[in-house]
Amino acid sequence: MTTLDESQLVDLYRRMTRIRHFEERVAALKATGELPGAVHIYIGQEAVAAGVCGALSVDDYITSTHRGHGHILAKDGQIDRCMAELFGKRDGYCKGKGGSMHIADPALGIIGANGIVGAGLPIATGAALSSLQRRSGQVAVAFFGDGGSTHGTFHESLNLATVWSLPVIFVCENNGISQLTPTAEVAALGTVAQHGAAYGIPGVTVDGNDVVAVYETTRTAVERARAGEGPTLIEAVTFRIHNHSEGLETIIGDIRDHDEIEQWRARDPLTLHRRTLEKAGVEASILEELDQSVAAEVEAAIDFAHNSPYPDPADAYSDVWAGEVPSAAFWGAR
């Protein structure tokens, strides 16, 4: 049985429902053609982001992936600025220069979602190094997928973090599929967690649809990291309900296994957690109010995004450089 109190359990639900409402609206907006570019929907995996980020402090670091909305929102990223970024608007987190796959909020320790698989692991490792050097007590989490576990940076980062005993937690969201290819076809080991043994660090598999289990696993890893005992590898087994990216079926056809999707829907992480909350005696009305207020917040964020101006064409040339802009010296100035 969990050691979490009622408010902690509700907080985990809050983090999940922020993601669910946001993602449902984003998928709908993408379907109407309102959003440029690609979006990768996180529905089905909410318990991973919520459980992990729920166990972190505000100033702890995360790096995220191309499927990053959930991580940003679970780390309490602003819904309106996320939404505006997806619309490519000036008030978006990246002023319309990053988009869905690149949202960052350094003030919340979010060092960025990343469009390159495996790229966030070294960056989180470096944030952990920085924390160690500054003796700040912060931990860093690298979110990545099962696809990322086949990348060289995964192995290099586990090695480096272990050698230097860095306060970093590697969180693999194993949804079983590397874009379209079942990861079992392309990964040597049956689980990602097994790789922990190769580097002499804990490798823990957890039910990625059970937010409390994810939270508690992460909390143990955070304690280990803060105590200077080094990294942990967590494999959260979960499932993505949507396609790799929205609208992909219009290009490649419907190749999903719908029985499998239904099986996982029956283990919807929000539904599972509502059962836990019910058992803990949390009144349904509290959750209904929370859902309504989050839904309203998401609608307000869409209005915010609609009302936000597009960037000025000249904005294409700013924000590359800190300090003096070197390009003013030549072509850009002409």
Binding site: Y61, T63, G92, Y93, C94, K95, G96, K97, G98, H102, A104, D105, P106, I111, G112, N114, G115, I116, A119, L121, P122, I123, A124, T125, G126, A127, A128, L129, S130, S131, Q133, R134, Q138, A140, G152, T153, E156, S157, N159, L160, V163, W164, S318, D319, V320, W321, A322, G323, P326, S327, A329, F330
Partner: protein, 328 residues
């Protein structure tokens, strides 16, 4: 002023900067053991926390440098050789060059990456070439290549203090060359400013690194023939030390751009493109690229010498340009 080698100048720079700013951390392969001279002794003074030997994991220690730079440190990463940049290209071109922009300027990445570059040591193509054009095209990484010990010190210090990712290349064949280096710890060489290494009136040679040194030797020879050559070193390749080149070409009317990179999309071709567009009216002859032909760097000294522009080839090309202009 103190007379010292390039390596000594870089060593002075890193010691001074690490004393000045305790956020600076040096990491790379064998930095504590000083496989490259300029890091020797750093760990003795600054300790093993600030001077870290890494595993041979270029992508990850450069990525870790970015993560550390984003969160309050000022990492200086020694990569040994510039060809190892290729191993870490995602972290350099997709991450270092772009993250600030993609975040809408929300975060700075004060990261310095140091590597020896260029040929002449018989190390063959995977250890001796000049990848600077790839970085010049990155859109978000500065890159320097000094040709004198004084510039090596002043540029390296500027790179460390710059709030952006900067790649500091130094030419291996210039390691033992001595020169006068200012002792003033705050005497920086600004990134993006070129330098006239040798004044002249008939023709401009724009050249970097070892090619700048050879250009001076070529200019000395041509002087005996009555040809006056100005040698300009842009020192910074991105942002290109352009004004110095343009001013010189407007004076001489002729340009030979010499580069140790391969010809296609070389620094020299960029310089020639700019001169053609910006200083066309001043030109008395075709602005000319001299670079390594589009082949990998060969191993055996005879072949290596064949492909890298020599003093003689530089002098011949310069002479031809001046004679051609006179005949026009």
């Amino acid at each position: 002023m103190t007379r010292m080698t390039q390596s000594g100048a870089m060593r002075a720079a890193i010691f001074e900067e690490m004393r000045r700013d305790d956020r600076i951390l040096v990491m790379g392969e064998d930095v504590r053991r000083g496989v490259v001279g300029y890091t020797a002794g750093l760990a003795d003074e600054f300790g093993n926390d600030r001077v870290r030997d890494t595993p041979i994991s270029e992508s990850t220690f450069i990525g870790a440098g970015l993560g550390a730079a984003a969160t309050g440190l000022v990492p200086v990463i020694d990569l040994l050789m510039s060809t190892f940049l290729y191993v870490a290209m995602d972290q350099i071109l997709n991450q270092a060059a772009k993250l600030r922009y993609m975040m809408g300027g929300a975060c700075d990445f004060p990261l310095t990456i140091v590597a020896a570059t260029g040929g002449g040591a018989g190390m063959a193509a995977q250890h001796s070439e000049s990848p600077h054009p790839i970085i010049m095209n990155s859109g978000g990484v500065k890159i320097i290549l000094p040709s004198t010990p004084a510039d090596a010190k002043g540029l390296f210090k500027s790179a460390i203090r710059d709030p952006n990712p900067v790649i500091v290349l130094y030419h291996g064949a210039l390691g033992a060359v001595r020169g006068e280096v200012p002792d003033d710890e705050d005497l920086l060489v600004p990134l993006g400013e070129g330098r006239v290494l040798r004044e002249g009136t008939d023709l401009t040679i724009a050249a970097i690194g070892l090619m700048a040194k050879r250009a001076i030797s070529a200019a000395d020879r041509l002087e005996e023939e009555g040809i006056s050559v100005e040698v300009v070193d842009p020192r910074t390749l991105f942002p290109l030390g352009w004004t110095t080149i343009a001013d010189s070409v407007r004076k001489t009317g002729l340009l030979l751009a010499v580069d140790e990179a391969r010809r296609t999309c070389s620094a020299a071709s960029e310089i020639v493109a700019r001169v053609t567009q910006d200083a066309f009216d001043a030109l008395r002859g075709p602005p000319t690229v001299m670079a390594v032909e589009d082949v990998p760097m060969p191993f055996t000294p005879l072949l290596e010498a064949e492909v890298i522009p020599s003093i003689e080839r530089i002098a011949d090309a310069a002479r031809e340009l001046v004679k051609g202009a006179e005949a026009r």
